[in-house]
Amino acid sequence: MGYNAATRPGGRLILSTVMATEAEVAALIVEALHLEVTPAEIDPEAPLFGDGLGLDSIDALEIALAVSRRYGFQLRSDDEHNGQIFASLRNLAAHIEKNRAR
């Protein structure tokens, strides 16, 4: 799994795994939290909490539940660089890509 764009045998450019996960996680967040924004409107580099998307700890728990159902692993606070995981959609997607069981 790479972070770079890959090319299909047919020559068509496809999204890298991480980019695809990013879009999928954005959709998951919007659905789990009933957000008014569309997945595409979530800035992948903006903070999810506080000043960015404005999520809080209730949302963190909802996201954790949705992630465990979809990807089969549990989020935790003492993960290495925990503060980084929710720092942006991009980081969360990368963390999921690294730890997913399905």
Binding site: L33, H34, L35, E36, P47, L48, F49, G50, D51, G54, D56, S57, I58, A60, L61, E62, A64, L65, S68, R69, Q74, L75, R76, S77, D78, N82, G83, Q84, I85, F86, A87
Partner: protein
Amino acid sequence: MSETAPLTDRAPGEVMFHRGSEAITIGRFLSDVAALAARLPPRPYALNLCADRYHALLGLAAALSRGQVMLLSADRSERRQREIAAAYPDLCVLADAGEGEGEPGWQPPPGALRVAAEGQGEDGPNPRIPLGQVAIIGFTSGSTGEPAAHPKPWGALVAATRAAAARFGLRGPAVSTLIATVPPQHMYGFEATMAMPLHAATASHAGPCFYPVEVAEALHAAPAPRLLVTTPLQMRALLGSGGALPPLAAVISATAPLAPELAAAAEAAWDTSVLEIYGATEIGSIASRRTTAGDTWTLYDGVALRRGAEGEVVLVDVPGMPAPVPLADAVEFQPGGGFRLLGRRADMVKLGGKRASLASLNRLLAAVEGVEDGVFVAPEDLDRNPSARLMVYAVAPGRSPGEILAALRERIEAVFLPRRVVLVSRLPRDPVGKLTRQALAELHRQAVPQKVAE
């Protein structure tokens, strides 16, 4: 000389905290308290922002022993810190040494005194503290959005702990382990996990305990008997994760009404009793019930309710508090001294364990530049759905929902932020300017079309 009570009435050899694999005794704790107390600058107030529960307790005990008042704010945002610093300019800020825990990306303010367990011995002085000394000040969102302060004397804290210990069978000799998912700075988490090990046969658990997997691991690692101190939201998440839990003596829930269905599901899944606590920042915990056994609350020993002179308002007399405190909810007295909740007083909403009045939120909304008219609306299922959120309808030509949300974020706590901001050309006010329930329900139907079942 005024009456006093010791910081702790437990024996030096008893365990009162678990940090990782380390069991901390009362003696070790008193040694850590003395070391921290010696480092506290001579200020009248200490704002305790420690996320590590043991550090938070050291901060409380050190402040108490120095006669300083601990300021208790579960909201650790920079905005709330600024508000508190404005009201209490002569304060010292306490934060965890090391990276600490808590909200992603949270950083302690520069200049904070870093709290660590630095005692050198296995014992220390056990100071006697005057019952009338203000031990803590808790905060609620006041009517203007500024934090409203609620002081609690040391005597009230000790009396509340002893009453809770009697109610939940925590007077020993077995030491129960308290595993809590609520922060130590929320009044419920504070009473149940910080005050409790000082005067009840309990040991609290320090360490991250937020996500379901962490809660399950903490419970498995804890010595029995185990009590899970949690909220409806966390209970639902833990049930949803489906992990097996070790035997639980009881699950205690507070901060939001617990739906009987959720309580029954938890009792069945974990083969335990789910007990609910009723309380508020202003009064602390005052009553409990077993949710599946009915809707009558039983008051803690020594607590009394009575009608105020103005009829609707109910006053509560709490042992150790200097004056009766008005209750935020409407209640119906039951024979035998219990009570039923008749729901929140219409204007009050409670989210994430915090209360605010819709009127005060509406005032803050009206103050947003460009908002000509606007209203916060609580969803119908607010009292049953632990993750329910508010909505805003606003008349604000030229402003976007995102701009309004950004402006509100500057003024109100995150849990009260509207999940949706819907812009409308006008609000359906009646001739005297009021918004009736029906008019708002109709507006809601138009703005949020019901999803058709697939």
